[in-house]
């Protein structure tokens, strides 16, 4: 809908009238009602008019969930940063880069799995609430993720052949593999203050392809998390800065 205005409403004087709707954003001058003919289309809130450009800005941020997990001495963490482009407040192409690590000891056994490798994701979010310029965004998005890694499996115990009665130590290092996966992302974010934004998302993860050492699959895949049994899931809690 193109611009509309009021000049005859009983609640609004001619000096208060502004263009209230462009391609997607409702903006206004004060707290009176705006109507198109007899139809009320929005409430004037006192916000300043803001023009939406094709490239409407850039953002950078970091996931705090990994830092929190690391603070709680979790045996696996993913630290990641992200950068994105704001296209018309609607599309947000995003690149995420991180470091995943795990140092996990098996339950009831002394087997220890360890891994530390980078990962990246690339994708795009769609802001379902793009018509509302209240600072909140509701996203649905898609990511493609990739990580190439090396992992170790050790045990302080000897592995004994019960029939031939021979034993050998068990240290498997630099087993290599890589993985590709897709993530469906759903999230919310809001402006906290000035250029500072915060938001969370939940992600459903689908392993597309994996190349592992024949010895066994890694317990943890950087960027994907613990090996999913079917569809995996995860989430993030990000702080971002609009630039």
């Amino acid at each position: 809908m193109l611009a509309i205005g009021l000049s005859t409403s009983q609640n609004v004087s001619a000096q208060q009238v502004v263009v209230v709707e462009t391609d997607s954003i409702v903006v206004s001058a004060d707290s009176t009602l705006v109507a198109e003919g007899s139809k009320v289309v929005g409430k004037l809130t006192g916000k300043k008019e803001r023009k939406i450009h094709f490239i409407n800005g850039f953002g950078v941020g970091a996931d705090l969930l990994g830092l929190i997990q690391k603070g709680f001495s979790s045996d696996n963490t993913m630290l990641e940063v992200m950068a994105r482009v704001n296209i018309k407040e609607r599309f947000f192409p995003v690149f995420e880069l991180g470091l995943g690590e795990a140092d996990h000891e098996g339950r009831d056994l002394n087997n220890r799995f360890s891994i530390r490798a980078p990962f990246f994701r690339i994708g795009c979010d769609y802001n379902i609430r793009y018509k509302h310029a209240d600072g909140n965004r509701f996203f649905a998005g898609l990511r493609y993720g990739f990580s190439a890694y090396k992992y170790d499996l050790d045990s302080p115990d000897l592995l004994t052949d019960p029939v031939w009665n021979t034993s050998q130590p068990f240290h498997l290092h630099d087993l290599s593999g890589n993985a590709q996966w897709l993530e469906l992302v759903f999230g919310l974010e809001t402006r906290v203050w000035s250029i500072v934004r915060a938001g969370w998302d939940v992600r459903f993860k689908f392993l597309l392809h994996e190349k592992t050492d024949e010895v066994g699959e890694p317990w943890f895949i950087p960027g994907l998390g613990k090996r999913p049994d079917g569809i995996g899931w995860g989430g993030s809690f990000k702080v971002m800065f609009d630039i």
Binding site: L65, I68, Q69, S74, H104, E105, G106, R107, D108, L109, N111, R112, F113, D134, G135, N136, L153, S155, L159, D161, P162, V163, W164, T166, Q168, F170, L172, L188, T190, R191, V192, W193, A198, G199, W200, V202, E214, V215, G216, W219, K226, D229, G235, F237
Partner: protein, 172 residues
């Protein structure tokens, strides 16, 4: 101001996420005995002299199996079976299997099978026991009672699939 309301939602969901991160599901295989699986077959040939595969038989004689180096009899006086399962050494490059067949007249015939293989560690999860899996590289045998040994599945693990088919001479 909207951010305050949204902020409450954010922290609630963050808490739920942290709680769910703590869940863990371990699925170790219940049947995890690594064994080589043998099937017994009668060696019959067609007119062109080609081995006819797939005729399973029960061994009428008493079968005793010894694994060289293990210093113990693995199978003792097995009768009427159409196959057997044997352990495989963790670390040897070649396993030697000695078969002794004793008939009702107490006559014993012997054969030896040599299985060359590559041994690899295998794990499903750090919380599960580590196993040794094997890939068969080659097999040969003596031919007193055995006609032919075929490798039908070179991967020896705990899936229970038949790895070897032993074809015995058929009494005319």
């Amino acid at each position: 101001m909207v951010p305050m309301k949204r902020g409450r939602e954010i922290y609630t969901l963050l808490f739920l996420l942290l709680c769910m991160v703590g869940c863990e599901n371990i699925s170790c295989p219940l049947n995890n005995t690594v064994e080589s699986v043998y099937g017994f077959y009668a060696a019959t040939y067609d007119e062109d002299g080609l081995l006819q595969t797939g005729t399973s038989v029960g061994v009428g004689d008493t079968l005793t199996v010894t694994l060289l180096g293990a210093d113990s009899i693995i199978l003792n006086r097995l009768t009427g079976q159409s196959g057997m399962k044997l352990p495989v050494s963790f670390y040897q490059d070649t396993d030697t299997v000695e078969l002794a067949f004793t008939d009702t007249l107490n006559r014993t015939g012997r054969d030896t099978i040599w299985i060359s293989k590559r041994n690899t560690h295998h794990w499903d999860d750090p919380s599960c026991p580590v196993h040794i899996w094997h890939k068969v590289l080659g097999i040969r045998s003596t031919h007193n009672l055995i006609d032919t040994v075929l490798v039908t599945n070179p991967e020896i693990n705990y899936d229970g699939l038949e790895n070897f088919q032993i074809y015995f001479h058929v009494a005319q």
